[in-house]
């Protein structure tokens, strides 16, 4: 007898989306996506590039660009236990985070391995938003065991969000009528009346430049897009696709999940997960704040000091060291690690990369084995790498309040 399966028709299940999901901005982004170049992010159609990735990238450094971050997963954690629960989950001190501020955060397993990173918004004393590129509802629920007085809600569908990034972003927002936005300090939150309700603007982003993220009711999404592009024309506004954002974030020194690290809940083999110490995230591990999940394991790892290290590299030549293996000698006798992200940086005018290397080799000579093509012909090259300790790209305007032209 043939095996039978009786599946409920997908269209009768209201929570299952058939095929790709569209962001609240989709009609607008689709119109500008002249080559219909899409990728899928958390099930949503997300533009790879609208017209030309490099031109879009340059808008983040010279004018301003808009990236649709609506596919990000957003969670609301609200209640008397919210602060204590989050403070125990993430590595930074939530108790000292002021209302209406944002903090970049990470959370780890008991073994001190990085699960994911994201931004934590404190919207009131007992009300937080956690935004992450990947779903984290399960971990939030697990982390809430023992903290009964709070509620966790997936608000991903309740917020339409855009990242507006680049040197003219503040001036554009001001011109749109959000006066006072120039006084928003990095990682602060301001609110303005908008559409039928309110817009939340946080001075945050993923490009390392001056920039903001805008959060509105999905019903007001197209209104926001239209105002940005009509007022923004003289500010050089461009839509940004994923390819341009990837370039900007590498220059800025931000990690990308599933590129620079694998979330520890998704790795299979031993040693394929990462501790935040390896990923140069030690600066956001607050060992003085009291207990947090993974603290004991991280303290032990830090004391031992033998962990791998993600380091910034300036590589000779102009061939990006994508997928390169790293060695401590030009003869390639000893493999010490590999490149996680690499690019030719147009603003820094350097061949930059992140390398994950065994700790003992981080300060010694490092050579990258680069494969590149010359008219389809593969060429192998060994390039000397110089370790860089300062950020590749950190313009003054990203920190200034108010920004210089506002």
């Amino acid at each position: 007898m043939p095996m039978q399966t009786n599946l409920q028709a997908a269209d009768t299940i209201d929570h299952v989306h058939e095929g790709v999901i569209y962001s609240p901005f989709h009609r607008r982004t689709s119109a500008k996506n002249i080559n219909q170049q899409w990728s899928v992010w958390n099930g949503y159609a997300s533009t790879k590039y609208y017209a030309d990735a490099h031109l879009e990238y340059f808008s983040t450094r010279n004018t301003c660009g808009v990236f649709d971050v609506s596919p990000m997963r957003k969670y609301r954690i609200k209640g008397p236990d919210a602060e204590a629960m989050l403070n125990r989950m993430v590595t930074r001190d939530v108790t000292s985070q002021a209302v209406d501020t944002v903090a970049y955060n990470i959370w780890c397993t008991d073994a001190g391995k990085l699960i994911d990173d994201g931004t934590l918004f404190r919207v009131s004393e007992d009300d937080f938003w956690l935004c992450a590129a990947d779903p984290n509802f399960d971990w939030l629920q697990l982390s809430a065991v023992g903290f009964p007085n709070l509620e966790i809600t997936d608000i991903s569908e309740d917020l339409a969000s855009l990242a507006l990034q680049g040197p003219t972003s503040c001036a554009l927002l001001k011109a749109m009528g959000f006066s006072g936005i120039e006084n928003a300090t990095p990682f602060s939150i301001m609110r303005f009346p908008f559409g039928a309700g309110e817009i939340t603007i946080s001075r945050t982003g993923y490009t390392g430049d001056l920039g903001y993220e805008l959060w509105v009711d999905p019903a007001d999404a197209e209104l926001l897009w239209d105002q940005l592009f009509s007022v923004g024309q003289v500010y050089g506004i461009q839509p940004l696709g994923e390819d341009s954002l990837e370039m900007a974030r590498i220059e800025a020194g931000f990690l990308a999940p599933d590129v620079d690290f694998h979330g520890s809940l998704h790795t299979v083999d031993r040693g394929h997960d990462h501790s935040p110490l390896e990923l140069a995230l030690g600066w956001i591990i607050n060992f003085k704040k009291g207990h947090f999940s993974g603290r004991a394991a991280l303290a032990k790892e830090k004391a031992a000091g033998k962990h791998r290290r993600l380091i910034k590299l300036d590589i000779e030549g102009n061939k990006p060291a994508e997928n390169s293996i790293l060695y401590c000698d030009k003869g390639c006798k000893k493999t010490i690690g590999y490149v996680t992200s690499a690019m030719w940086s147009p603003v820094v005018k350097a061949n930059i990369a992140y390398g994950l290397v065994e700790g003992q080799y981080a300060d010694g000579p490092i050579w990258a084995e680069i494969y590149h093509q010359k008219e389809l012909r593969w060429v192998r090259k060994l390039a000397q790498c110089t370790r860089v300790t300062k950020p590749f790209w950190a313009p003054e305007r990203a920190r200034q309040t108010p920004p210089s032209d506002c």
Partner: protein, 511 residues
């Protein structure tokens, strides 16, 4: 504020044993007990004027080593009965009496099978016995002591001989029913023998899991060659433990409920009582169940996420109710000259299984399997002259009964009395007072989350290096200075004081 080396939360028998060993080793120990008397579930309490009983009643797991180490006999511990026979009962059938040596009243086949059953299980129990009294090993850490324990465990199994070792490996996770069916024929006999595999756990004769291991733990005592009944109820044992601890210099404070464990810079600094008083101690040992210890007394904010999850997932809902009856005279049980011994009102394993079926879904059976003792027959300290105490463990009484115990208490008691009267017609008219303790009552009266005898289910996933869970199974916890010594730690439930003794040894070794 007062200062101690060690504060122990809870004066149950394990808390007291732990205190006695630590005080004996020279530590300055304070035991804090929320109730007005020591002993916890073992305390002998007056439930009606002149009538006394303890929730726990016999001492099958107690070891001579602990009794001697702590001079318990000097401190008043004695037995009312060395070896109490177990009597398999079924309405309309003649009872079968079971002792460790032989059956009486059983068929020739069953009588012939019993010695082999005892031989095999005693051999298994002896092979495993040393490991109940050792700190469980961790597998991955490569610690020499742990490797030695693992090595000895393997060697003890191998020493059983090839045939018996194979049998142990085959039988270790059998349901009680399969074990009994392999040896015996009589339904009541099989049911009575299966009882010790499952009592206290959310298990019934057909449940695979830890039935055989639980039986082996139950057989680990060496105090006598049978089932010992303590004089003065189980409280006689815990009172002696308390006297012993005190004699070694431990201080015991009753009516002192600990509200929380104090943490300073990731380490224990003491405890705070419900009246706000703080006691400083560099070591705090909890005799409370693991959920209460970690989630209530300590708080999830001090623990990692996955560890907290494992603690919160521990199965700790009790399924045993305790019945105490004050009787005007010695009740008559059909077929028995005198209701001496442990009377198993369990006609068959199916009868037990059906009662379990009801309980799984939040109900309880009309006919309730029970284990009955009338300790006053051999102990006149428990009832006024000429009167008697009936003490019964009843399965299954689900902690989370549908609708809550307030609305079921009367009916459950009525079912229990109706079941009893099938064996002892007219017993209701002899009852002058009754106390029914459901798991919800145990939780409330003894601060025992879930009202579970063993604090957390004794099962394969919560056994040995996983008891109560990895990360807290070696009498240490993720919090420096915080330890467990209750039944939620290895080896588990049952009056033997081994959790407390093992914890004390582990703490002394670490110093």
């Amino acid at each position: 504020m007062s200062n101690y080396d060690i504060a122990i939360i809870g004066a149950g028998h394990n808390g007291l044993a732990c205190a006695a060993y630590l005080a004996k080793a020279g530590r300055k120990v304070l035991v804090l007990e929320a109730n007005d008397e020591v002993g916890g579930l073992a305390a002998t309490r007056e439930f009606a004027p002149g009538f006394r009983a303890s929730v726990a009643q016999t001492l099958p797991q107690l070891n001579r080593g602990l009794v001697d180490d702590l001079n318990l006999e000097k401190h008043g511990f004695k037995l009312a009965l060395d070896a109490m026979p177990t009597v398999a009962m079924a309405p309309g059938k003649s009872p079968i009496s079971i002792t460790s040596g032989a059956l009486s009243g059983a068929s020739a086949e069953d009588s012939a099978a019993y010695p082999e059953y005892r031989r095999l299980l005693s051999k298994f129990a002896d092979a495993i016995n040393p490991f109940w009294h050792k700190r469980p090993p961790m597998i991955a850490d490569g610690d020499m002591g742990d490797l030695a324990t693992l090595g000895k465990f393997g060697w003890n199994l191998r020493r059983l001989g090839k045939d018996d070792m194979r049998e142990l490996m085959r039988m270790i996770a059998l349901p009680a029913q399969d074990l009994m069916d392999e040896f015996f024929q009589d339904d009541a006999l099989k049911a009575a023998l299966s009882w010790d595999c499952n009592i206290g756990s959310k298990l019934a004769p057909r449940s695979p899991n830890n039935a055989v291991l639980a039986l082996l733990l139950r057989m680990s005592g060496d105090l006598t060659d049978g089932l010992p009944l303590p004089a003065g109820g189980a409280g006689g044992f815990t009172d002696a433990l308390a006297a012993s601890a005190t004699s070694f210099g431990a201080e015991i404070r009753c009516g002192a409920a600990v509200e929380k464990v104090l943490i300073d810079d990731m380490s224990v600094s003491g405890v705070q009582l419900s009246n706000g008083e703080q006691v400083q101690a560099t070591t705090v040992i909890s005799n409370a169940d693991p959920k209460t210890s970690f989630l209530t007394l300590l708080g999830a904010q001090h623990l990692d996420v996955q560890f907290t999850h494992r603690i919160s997932r521990l199965r700790n809902q009790g399924y045993v109710a305790k019945l105490h009856l004050a009787l005007d005279e010695i009740p008559t049980f059909t077929g028995l000259e005198k209701p001496a011994g442990r009377l198993m009102l369990t006609p068959s394993m199916k009868y037990i299984e059906c009662a379990f079926d009801d309980a799984k879904y939040g109900g309880y059976a009309n006919e309730l399997p029970m284990e009955v003792i009338i300790p006053s027959l051999v102990d006149d300290s428990l009832a006024p002259v000429g009167k008697h105490v009936l003490s019964a463990n009843i399965q299954y009484a689900p902690y989370a009964v549908k609708g809550g115990w307030d609305q079921h208490r009367e009916q459950f008691l009525a079912n229990a009395l109706a079941t009893l009267s099938q064996y002892s017609p007219g017993i209701e008219s002899q009852v002058s007072a009754a106390e029914l303790l459901t798991p919800a009552d145990l939780e409330q009266q003894f601060n025992l989350a879930g009202g579970h005898w063993h604090h957390a289910e004794f099962a394969i996933d919560t056994w040995w290096m996983n008891r109560p869970t990895y990360g807290a199974s070696q009498y240490t916890t993720p919090i420096s200075g915080f330890h467990l010594c209750g039944a939620g730690a290895h080896p588990g439930g049952g009056l033997m004081g081994t959790c407390g003794a093992n914890a004390a040894r582990a703490i002394l070794e670490d110093r």
